[in-house]
């Protein structure tokens, strides 16, 4: 699987490298030597792969520094952003789902309305609105840059993470609500009610617990969208993370940089997917059994 991903990620280096510039023949030769472009495709690929494995992605064309050091600078910002956003998604999504599932009528309708609205509003519109409201009008939270260290970083990332989280949390709330409703109406919950098990126990042990696997599946499905959203949000708030690097690289035709980021993103997506699968197996006894056999 990784092999296919990497082949795709390698793209067409020569075209990308030369782009719309008209370089001198010496420059072409130099570039070819530097990036092994005169080697056959598979050799190139192998050289790049082995280098990448050692953490060496070559030098960025725009920044004229090693790609790896650029990544090292940018990654903490993006990682912090994604973690904060995921925490918000889970917190907001689950709370809304529980409220909507337990209280038929008004609370349910409000969550349904709010979530349809939140799903229809794109991340970048949210980002711009938050910038205007909190940054320009109220002036309570920073809306540009990622800040430095600790609290400053946290406050700088608060709005971006919220913009990133809101759509996904609405989706989670929706799926969570219907999963919990399905459990509430299921025969096994009827059994517990008939046995006189207190309702908070029934909700916690039977309704909430059983609806976690489908919720986890939604979170897993949202991972690529979350990463795509990171690029958008980083641009909107000028955060200088991996997404910002990616855009800079694309606009400048900086193929070693883009290649490295593509590899990184795919590895992160796949790894997160696998982690969610493992968590799923831990949560659902039927899954773990199927895995063992």
């Amino acid at each position: 699987m990784i092999f296919g991903v990497l082949t795709l990620a390698s793209g067409d280096p020569l075209a990308a490298l030369l782009g719309n510039r008209t370089p001198s023949p010496e420059r072409v030769a130099q570039l070819q030597a530097q990036y092994h472009l005169n080697e056959p495709f598979l050799v190139q690929y192998w050289l790049w792969l082995t280098d990448a494995f050692r953490g060496d992605f070559g030098d960025s064309i725009v920044y004229q520094t090693p790609v790896s050091s650029l990544l090292r600078q940018a990654a903490p910002i993006s990682i912090a952003l994604i973690l904060m956003a995921e925490a918000m998604i889970v917190a907001i999504g689950l709370c809304a789902a529980v409220v909507a599932a337990r209280h038929r009528g008004a609370p349910d309708a409000i969550v349904a309305l709010a979530s349809s609205l939140a799903i229809s509003i794109p991340i970048f519109v949210f980002a711009v609105l938050l910038t205007i409201i909190f940054g320009k009008t109220l002036g309570v939270l920073p809306t540009v840059g990622a800040g430095t260290g600790g609290w400053d970083r946290f406050s700088h990332l608060l709005l971006p993470a919220f913009a990133l989280a809101i759509g996904s949390s609405a989706l989670l709330a929706r799926v969570g609500r219907s999963a919990m409703r399905e459990e509430i109406d299921s025969p096994h919950v009827a059994t517990e009610v008939a046995r006189g098990i207190p309702s908070h126990h029934v909700f916690r042990r039977h309704v909430f617990r059983n609806s976690l696997p489908p919720l986890l599946a939604v979170i897993a499905l949202q991972i690529p969208a979350l990463i795509a959203g990171t690029v958008v949000v980083e641009r909107a708030f000028n955060l200088g993370g991996i997404g910002t690097l990616l855009l800079a690289g694309v606009n400048a035709g900086d193929f070693p940089l883009v290649q490295a980021i593509a590899l990184l993103i795919v590895i992160v997506t796949v790894t997160l997917g696998v982690l969610v699968d493992i968590l799923h197996a831990m949560l659902d006894p039927r899954m773990s059994l199927a895995g063992n056999q």
Binding site: T191, A194, R195, G196, I197, P198, H201, H206, D284, Q293
Partner: protein, 604 residues
């Protein structure tokens, strides 16, 4: 005897946009301490809703009137705390499908311990000990290990035992058993019923048994209450009911059932389909379907008329028609004679293996099975789930290819899937199938007429457009559909009507034989009788042969000339239906027969 449970005038309705939807209409019911009462009815009769209302398990918006008294106090007057206590310690319920009724994500131990700790305030350690003891009582071996296991590691029968263990552990005096064996295989069904009977004696439990199966009810319970369209139409002691039912519905319900001891010349058919309680409000609910209906029947709802001895019936003509009703009851008739005719299906040495992911050896679904089917003959294939009977049908159809053996259908050799469109079409004229589930066996976008016409277009190009249309209508009338039903969408048809359409579709190609794969198992008994009668008539008029796959021995007894008993992919016994079912040789056949409830009344 004292009344443990007394329901009076219970009426339940659910409000909807089109007015109140009535589910239960004035039910009176009494369960004495130590007795077992059965509430018998077809789907939609309101029997389950009645049972659930005893634990106040109805949706919040349900409107309830009347009263339910348990040990003399009204359950509707209970506070929330009292209700929880009541559910924990007084009444326990066992549901139909144990696999759906126990949380699949928690262990069996968790399930039992939750109940014990809630009801009896046991400390964890003593709850574990008690759970182990309870599993022993209901006959689950290695109880300590099994507490750690999850529901998917248990069989359906074992899970139902776990449910019963929880009921026993609660110390309840009344057990509500809602179709507790319907989802289980026949032999398991018998074991679970025996367990329930034993616990009744041992712990002095009273049982309210909800079932659609009047034979199961009469053979296990002291009293029977027959429900129809939300009301009890007859309430009798089991033995009285078996001897002489007094309501036309009870009598017909008993008469339309197939029997294991002997076959009927013709099953009693109840015309039409059951109606709901809303449609029956304020009048005799059964009038439309009753063959004894008279002018007097239209004067409002019949009052309960007390009967000599014990019990009551709601029928204004009960006294006049008492003797006629007895005549509806099953009377043994001649057995089906052996068929002498050309062979239409001959299969020899069939074998089919399935690879199971992770397992070292493949599962043998069909193991060295041979069979013959003659023109105009019905061969019953009997077995429990996993016996290979359905796979056998798929092999004959050519949907699966056999690993070994030969199949000849209507003179043509069949080898796996059809290789060309022409071959597929030719096979369509040889062998057809009718499936169990009437709700998925028709294209939801096709009316019966267009469905049958489509098949005729495939096989009877000679007929022309008009000819096909009139043939389709003729065929659908033959299976008992009226003009309106012929051009209705499947969603507007009842289960029985859909199954008739499926039969018409199967007949349209004029095949030599039809496989009926549990084709009447999903239907209510009164509808089942109609379809069985129809199948017999069609065989008589067309000479089509049936391969009748079923788990139900009494249905086989009614319809099949010969029977083949399968277990784990092999044939354990084969022969004329009458000799196999009255004088079985194989132990497994004997065991199956012993598990079938007898209509002759309580064994004790």
């Amino acid at each position: 005897m004292t009344a443990l449970l007394e329901i009076s005038g219970l009426t339940i309705s659910i409000p909807s946009s089109s007015g109140d939807h009535l589910l239960v209409d004035g039910v009176d019911l009494r369960v004495d301490t130590g007795s077992s009462v059965a509430l018998v009815g077809e789907s939609g009769s309101g029997k389950s809703v009645t049972a659930r209302s005893i634990l106040r398990l109805l949706p919040d918006r349900a409107k309830v009137s009347g009263d339910v008294l348990f040990e003399g106090s009204s359950i509707f007057a209970m506070s929330n705390a009292e209700l929880m206590r009541f559910r924990q310690t007084k009444v326990a319920m066992v549901f139909q499908d144990p696999r759906a009724s126990i949380n699949p994500m928690r262990t069996i131990g968790d399930f039992l311990i939750d109940g014990l700790r809630a009801g009896r305030d046991l400390a964890r350690a003593s709850a574990v000990e008690e759970a182990t003891r309870l599993l022993g009582i209901v006959g689950v071996s290695r109880a300590e290990d099994r507490l750690q296991q999850y529901p998917h590691e248990f069989s359906g029968g074992m899970l139902q035992r776990v449910m019963i263990a929880s009921a026993v552990g609660s110390g309840a005096t009344l057990l509500l058993a809602d179709e507790p064996t319907t989802a289980l295989d026949v032999s398991i069904q018998a074991e679970v019923m025996a367990l329930l009977g034993g616990l009744r004696d041992e712990f002095g439990l009273s049982v309210l048994f909800i079932t659609h199966d009047i034979d199961l009810a009469t053979s296990h319970c002291d009293r029977i209450d027959v429900m129809y369209a939300g009301a009890v139409v007859e309430s009798r002691a089991s033995s009285d009911l078996v001897a002489a039912p007094r309501h036309p519905y009870s009598a017909a319900l008993m008469g339309c059932r197939t029997h294991i001891e002997s076959r009927s010349a013709r099953l009693v058919a109840i015309d039409g389909a059951p109606i709901n309680a809303s449609a029956a409000r304020g009048r005799c609910a059964f009038e439309d379907r009753c063959s004894f209906a008279a002018a007097a029947c239209s004067d409002g709802r019949p009052d309960a008329m007390s009967l000599a001895g014990d019990g009551y019936v709601r029928c204004v003509r009960a006294d006049e028609i008492a003797n006629d009703l007895v005549r509806l009851l099953h009377r043994p008739s001649d057995e089906l004679a052996a068929v002498v005719a050309p062979i239409v299906i001959a299969a020899t040495g069939l074998r089919k293996e399935f690879k199971v992911r992770g397992a070292a050896t493949p599962t043998v679904a069909v193991d060295d099975v041979s069979l013959t089917l003659r023109r105009g003959e019905t061969l019953g294939i009997v077995g429990e789930s996993g016996s290979g009977k359905t796979t056998l049908g798929r092999l004959l159809l050519g949907i699966e290819s056999a690993d070994a053996g030969t199949i000849v259908v209507d003179g043509a050799l069949r080898d796996g899937r059809a290789r060309s469109a022409a071959e597929r079409r030719k096979r369509g004229r040889q062998l057809q199938i009718v499936f169990q589930d009437p709700y998925t066996s028709l294209d939801p976008r096709q009316t019966p007429v267009s469905a049958v016409t489509e098949i005729l277009a495939l096989h009877r190009a000679d007929l022309g457009r008009d000819g096909r249309l009139s043939s389709a209508v003729r065929l659908l009338r033959e299976v008992g559909l009226d003009d309106r039903q012929c051009s209705a969408l499947p969603a507007e048809l009842s289960g029985g009507q859909r199954q008739r359409v499926a039969i018409a579709k199967a007949l349209a190609a004029d095949p030599a034989a039809i496989i009926l794969d549990e084709a009447v198992s999903g239907l209510d008994v009164s509808i089942q009788a109609q379809v069985l009668n129809l199948l017999a008539d069609l065989q008589e008029s067309t000479g089509v042969a049936y391969l009748f796959i079923s788990h139900d021995l009494s249905v086989i007894r009614q319809i099949a000339h010969r029977v083949m008993v399968m277990r784990d992919g092999s044939v354990v016994e084969e022969g004329a239906t009458v000799s196999v079912l009255t004088d079985p040789v194989a132990d497994y056949t004997k065991q199956l027969l012993a598990a079938v409830p007898s209509a002759a009344g309580p064994a004790a």
